[in-house]
């Protein structure tokens, strides 16, 4: 197996003076499933476009599988698979025609690498004579992944592959990524969904063109410096305001129908808060201690950036 790691050193990219990437550095291991987690506009797509030789960085160096993205861009185009965030296959060609086209322009055939895409492609094979434009969102993603895989790439870049895909298909998709990873392919994947972070080997949390932290999902969670309470009550709007004013509270974020309240140490007594909310006429108050999720960590890092960890 070739060295399929990706090294990025101090990469910066600006668009008309607005920084899209601000001094980004990271290294991935061989055969790692590396996730970039961050909201829209964090710079994930820009980073992927630079790594896939579609965009030139203003400064900094990147190598993909040992090849420089500027000097050896031709070599990179032979060993990379890229799945853009937007569906970019020919909608007026059928499933099979798309796959065959991408196989042939890489100088290979479907038969030769069928084993690589078999798991994924089998699911859409019944529709192989259907035009790609008429597939459902999940099937489109499977086809796009098949097309990105058909030339047996060493490194796979997946830009928000699960955006706009239903929950069931998302789970399926991540299962497929796991299997691909096991066959030794290095996978870089970006997603705005925090819950997907736990499925990666390591994640980089990104915000405003910067990487806030890089570590395993477990480490991200264990390095969360605060304690967390999940608070539930009828009137979530009033609840948020009152909790923010509560003494000792570090931050309050709404997570669906509950509020996550963070504080340092053991300053807050659950019973005390319960009584306080009761006295403020909140109905059906529930308070429980919870473990932080990646999203809690992300919120904390976003608002209180610590020195970037290196490992």
């Amino acid at each position: 197996m070739a060295i399929a790691s990706v090294h990025v050193h101090q990469v910066t990219k600006q668009f008309n003076g607005t920084p899209a990437l601000d001094n980004i550095s990271f290294d991935t291991g061989n055969g790692e499933l590396f996730g970039f987690i961050g909201p829209d506009g964090a710079g994930k797509t820009t980073l992927f476009r630079i790594l896939t030789t579609l965009l030139l960085a203003d400064s900094g160096t990147c190598t993909v599988a040992g090849y420089d993205v500027v000097k050896d861009y031709k070599a990179i185009r032979n060993i990379c698979g890229y799945m853009p965030g937007r569906f970019s296959l020919y909608q007026d060609l059928t499933v099979e025609e798309n796959l065959r086209f991408f196989a042939t322009i890489f100088g290979t055939t479907i038969d030769e690498n069928y084993h690589l895409v078999k798991d994924i492609y089998q699911q859409i094979e019944p529709f192989r004579n259907r035009k790609a434009g008429q597939l459902s969102g999940g099937m489109k993603q499977k086809l796009a992944l098949s097309c990105a895989m058909i030339h047996k790439p060493d490194v796979l870049f997946l830009d928000e592959p699960t955006t706009g895909v239903d929950a069931v298909s998302r789970v399926e998709f991540w299962d497929m990524l796991k299997r691909l990873k096991n066959s030794g392919i290095t996978i870089l994947v970006s997603t705005p969904y925090m819950d997907e972070a736990g499925l990666c080997d390591r994640v980089a949390l990104m915000q405003n063109g910067r990487i806030m932290t890089i570590s395993t999902p477990g480490e991200v969670i264990s390095s969360y410096p605060l304690s967390l309470l999940s608070v539930k009550a009828g009137d979530i709007y009033r609840l948020l305001g009152e909790l923010r004013a509560y003494p000792g509270v570090h931050s309050v974020y709404a997570f669906g129908q509950t509020a996550h309240v963070s504080f340092s140490g053991q300053q807050i007594e659950r019973q005390q808060m319960f009584d306080f909310l009761k006295s403020n006429n909140h109905a059906s108050v529930e308070i429980s201690v919870i473990e932080p999720s990646i999203e809690d960590c992300f919120m904390e890092l976003m608002n209180n950036p610590v020195e970037k960890q290196t490992n």
């Binding site: 476009r49 896939t52 030789t53 579609l54 965009l55 030139l56 861009y73 031709k74 185009r77 032979n78 990379c80 890229y82 853009p84 937007r86 569906f87 970019s88 296959l89 020919y90 909608q91 007026d92 060609l93 025609e97 086209f101 991408f102 042939t104 322009i105 890489f106 100088g107 097309c147």
Partner: protein, 372 residues
């Protein structure tokens, strides 16, 4: 080379899957040839005349019947009041008033000279000029007859005419269709080439498929070749199809070597296709590409000599026209098809197209970027 073939194969697959494409390729040329060739004509067939004959003599009636007998004129209205005839023209019902004053016959026989009046609607200067020319010819003809009929010495004395005999070369019957068909074919090839090629690449940008293509090992030359060649083939096919339709429907002459036509077309299509490619590199949506293509197309075609002759343009326009590829190809088409010109006759036009093709293709390739 194999990669280029795969791209071409893919393009053809897409072209023929596009529902509007086959009608464009097969129906458009027929309709254009039928409509444009028959409609865009300068021949005056139905000049509508209003006759105001105030003399009502044998001689004046003979003059009127001369107009009635001509295939070019249609007497639409007769009246004894000039004002009434003028009203008809104002309403747009007639194109010309023929007024014969009273005492016309008498004056002609006694004094050997009389006057009639033509009033011609000259909103369209070109057709007014032609109407005038036709009418004058009829009058001259009539003059000669009057002299001979009456055997009037007073008239005979004034007759000193020089007879001119003429014949029209390369288009002896002055058949306008013969002249138009080659030009319309150029128009056709231009539209197909310019619109389809430019729009095709922009479409990949618009839909985002270019992103996926750009990360593949396909290089610039392969991509451009794969994009241009299908439309080059379609363009040449279109020309062959158009020529066949022209031959069948209008029996256009094909005096020269058809191989020469296709050789020139092959070069010309490269010019047009690279123009389309160039447009696609400066636009980002199909709509923009369409508008820019249209702008160039209108200018090129109106200045190409298709409808108006280049020789009557002002000198600066004629000089500017050297940049107009459509002009060269229309000339080549007409020269080869109507005159039977050989390569030596068209060589200057041909080499101009070659230079043009090399420059525009080079520029287009230079401008096209895979990295944004």
């Amino acid at each position: 080379m194999r990669t280029i073939l795969y791209i071409i194969q893919k393009e053809f697959l897409q072209v023929f899957r596009n529902k509007s494409m086959l009608p464009i390729i097969f129906v458009l040329p027929v309709i254009q040839l039928i409509i444009l060739v028959n409609a865009a004509t300068y021949e005056m067939k139905h000049i509508r005349v209003s006759v105001v004959d105030l003399d009502l003599s044998g001689t004046s009636r003979k003059l009127v019947s001369k107009f009635q007998g001509s295939p070019f004129y249609q007497v639409k209205h007769t009246s004894f009041s000039y004002a009434e005839a003028e009203d008809e023209m104002k309403k747009g019902k007639t194109d010309m008033i023929l007024q014969v004053p009273s005492g016309f016959e008498k004056k002609l026989l006694t004094e050997g000279m009389a006057k009639v009046q033509f009033v011609i609607n000259a909103i369209n200067g070109q057709s007014a000029g032609l109407t005038n020319a036709y009418s004058t010819m009829i009058l001259l003809d009539y003059n000669r007859e009057v002299v001979l009929d009456n055997n009037n010495p007073a008239l005979m004395a004034g007759i000193r005419t020089i007879q001119t005999d003429y014949s029209y070369w390369y288009n002896p019957k002055l058949n306008y269709k013969t002249y138009m068909v080659p030009g319309i074919l150029v128009l056709l090839v231009t539209i197909i080439g310019l619109l389809l090629s430019g729009m095709n690449i922009v479409r990949e940008v618009e839909i985002g498929t270019i992103e996926q293509i750009n990360v593949t090992p396909i290089n610039k030359i392969q991509f451009i070749a794969g994009k241009l060649l299908p439309f080059w083939i379609i363009g040449l096919f279109e020309l062959a199809f158009g020529l066949a339709v022209g031959k069948l429907l209008f029996n256009i002459p094909m005096e020269g070597n058809l191989g020469l036509i296709f050789l020139s077309a092959a070069v010309y299509l490269f010019v047009i296709l690279s123009f389309g490619l160039l447009i696609s590199t400066v636009t980002s949506t199909q709509q923009q590409a369409m508008l820019v293509s249209f702008f160039f197309m209108v200018v090129f075609i109106l200045m190409s000599g298709l409808f108006t002759s280049i020789e009557s343009m002002p000198e600066w326009a004629q000089k500017l026209d050297r940049l107009n590829p459509v002009m060269y190809f229309i000339r080549i088409m007409r020269m080869v098809l109507l005159k039977g010109s050989g390569f030596a006759d068209i060589s200057s036009h041909f080499w101009s197209l070659v230079v043009y093709a090399v420059c525009s293709l080079g520029l287009a390739i230079l401008r096209y970027r895979k990295v944004s």
